[in-house]
Symmetry: C2
Subunit: 388 residues, 2 copies
């Protein structure tokens, strides 16, 4: 196990009706002038926006609004938000929505107290200072409600890049599973896939003796495998929604990744897919992750066999561990299909001829991505090929 | 699942050598005048105290000391600490040691900013204000390094009682598994038992649909069952010590208990044992928990069968789930014996004739303790009897 620091100071308010206390939380964490940042009409149509505004008004907190966040959130709106915050003296950003709204809010929060171009943070500069951020989560997926990360796409060149830093962790997150009940089945499945991917990026590691975090990863995956079919059968199954929503946070606040080298190649490889085709991140991950597994599993057959046995209930083939490893990957792929996720380029609508461009866009040069197996541009091309 | 809040803001610095940065952490969290609070000679003999002092001096932080914390920490020393803090203008309490030193430090931290008797908090008053607390942990057991709880014994009547409140969560905890390597085997096993008990107090619940927290509880128990024998064979097994130490924190920062009714009867029943005989809390729990299980398992045979199958690897007897439930309890008891814990009064040195007095000391009156099954004084007596 490697040395680590773990700091997850976000206050999580979980359960029915908690959004009605949003104003209290903003006040508790010192917000006085709020920018409400959100996406499209569902937040308005559902009445959620009204409930949140009412709770702010009850506490005497003033606010302005900036809607229009798109999936794979863009830098254009971020610049707009930063300018707005500076002009209006905003001291607190409240994101309502899923990962896109929260990530966009984080970019604004960092840019509003920075003299340079906020994109610097998405080129590697660590975020040490930002306006305070609160969230009202409506999609179980990105885990951004408890993470120090943000991903933004720059229109110029359609570059999708991530920023990170403790200052980006929300001070509070409101998590009411009821708010996720109206999410379409496809988006629900994309979210579940994203959560699983966050766990697997941490699970496949070369660090030895991380039994505890292994077990926590497996526990979270087992939960998702059991609860996912329930919400597809009954989108209003509160209990299943609740288990998935909380798992989505735990999967990405890094409790499951401490003390170990993490991989994150599949996320990078997927980002080029969603940047180019504007597909849902979760759907792209469903296409990339099984292909990545098929490409790298020989690097550590035992770990993939453990994944197969403990997560997918495969019986260990002691005479042929590789068969067990492959069975685990196959069951994972079957699971993705069972929740109506695409598992190849054709199903996603991606094109073979774009492969060299996407691999090139990762800008690995002579370098590599990933840690479990270090992948060159050539390797990345082969993984895209395996996903055709 | 029930509504809940989760807030675990402690900064955890985990791994080799981290104690040498204690001064930096104190500074980071605003401490300027520190009371170092600790137990006996091992902290001095090992050189740990010197390393911590050096790190404080390096940051120009002044400190005073108060040693002498005993297992099952007493109110007498707490009063002394409170007076010292008030006289010397202390603004930060640094506990070095295990749960006893940390719990005593928490009591001092609360009492130092309170006009009344600190014992009020141990009679039910919630702690809302306290001096900041940091810890350098040397025993994996109590989980006090990440919890908002403290347990103190009042000499008068030997009453052992708990206090709680967000202000009691340490702002940072240094966790270096090497510091636990010199712990005697018996204390190591007591710690492991205490950690398991913290999980099981949360696991046995009447709240339905808590699949995710169930899985996290099981993951943590599975880790302890696998790692415990390793440290008894080789006390210097860093990796096993590390997995156990981190599991001890996760077991008690309440991640494993959110959204569900928790039990805590066994802790209450045990507290009378350790208050009367001054035995180790973990040893007392090893005696009480199997007896509690035998007394209550019929209340929810399915849950005990799940415990048996998922945690103890029992095969489910579908024709006779009760047999599976009982097998799980038996395996738990065997495990405790395998790590040299006492599992009955005789082995602990407790006396049958003290049972009525201990049950009476819980002061249940016409009330009950526990939630999984609500236990009267008569029930508690029967559980003690089952542990003879």
């Amino acid at each position: 196990m490697e040395n680590f620091s773990f700091h997850s100071p976000t206050y999580f308010a979980f359960g029915r009706g908690k959004e009605e206390k949003t104003g209290e939380y903003v006040k508790q964490f010192g917000g006085t002038k709020v920018l409400i940042h959100y996406g499209g009409g569902s937040v308005l149509r559902s009445g959620l926006m009204d409930r949140v505004k009412k709770s702010l008004e009850k506490e005497g907190i003033s606010y302005i609004e900036l809607g229009g966040v798109k999936p794979n959130p863009r830098s254009g709106l971020v610049y707009q938000g930063i300018q707005l915050c500076k002009e209006e003296g905003v001291d607190f950003i409240l994101a309502i929505g899923g990962g896109s709204s929260i990530d966009s809010a984080k970019a604004i929060a960092a840019g509003a107290v920075y003299d340079g171009d906020f994109w610097d943070f998405y080129e590697g500069k660590v975020v040490k200072k930002a306006l305070k951020i609160g969230t009202v989560l409506t999609i179980a997926a990105a885990g951004s409600e408890g993470s120090p990360d943000s991903v933004i796409t720059r229109e110029e060149g359609m570059l999708k890049r991530g920023a990170s830093g403790g200052a980006l962790r929300p001070v509070f997150s409101v998590m009411n599973p009821e708010l996720t009940m109206t999410l379409p089945a496809y988006q629900t499945s994309c979210g579940i896939t994203d959560i699983m991917a966050h766990i697997m990026e941490r699970y496949f590691t070369n660090t030895k003796d991380v039994e505890f975090t292994d077990r926590l990863c497996e526990a979270t995956l087992l939960t998702l495998i059991k609860e996912a079919p329930k919400v597809l059968i009954d989108p209003k199954d509160y209990e299943a929604r609740a288990n998935i929503m909380w798992a989505g946070m735990v999967a990405h606040n890094n409790l499951l990744g401490v003390g170990r080298e993490q991989d994150w190649a599949s996320h990078g490889i997927e980002h080029e897919l969603s940047a180019l085709y504007d597909c849902a991140h979760g759907a792209g991950l469903a296409v990339i992750f099984p292909a990545w597994m098929k490409y790298v599993y020989r690097h550590d057959v035992s770990r993939f066999a453990q994944f197969a046995v403990r997560v997918w209930g495969c019986e260990m083939d002691f005479a042929n561990p590789e068969a067990t490893a492959l069975e685990g990957i196959a069951r994972f792929e079957s699971f993705l299909t069972s929740i109506n996720m695409p598992v190849n380029f054709r199903q996603l609508g991606a094109k073979e001829e774009d492969i060299p461009k996407m691999a090139e866009n990762m800008k690995l040069g002579n370098g590599t991505c990933g840690n479990f197996v270090k992948l060159t541009t050539k390797d990345v091309e082969k993984i895209y090929q395996l996903a055709l």
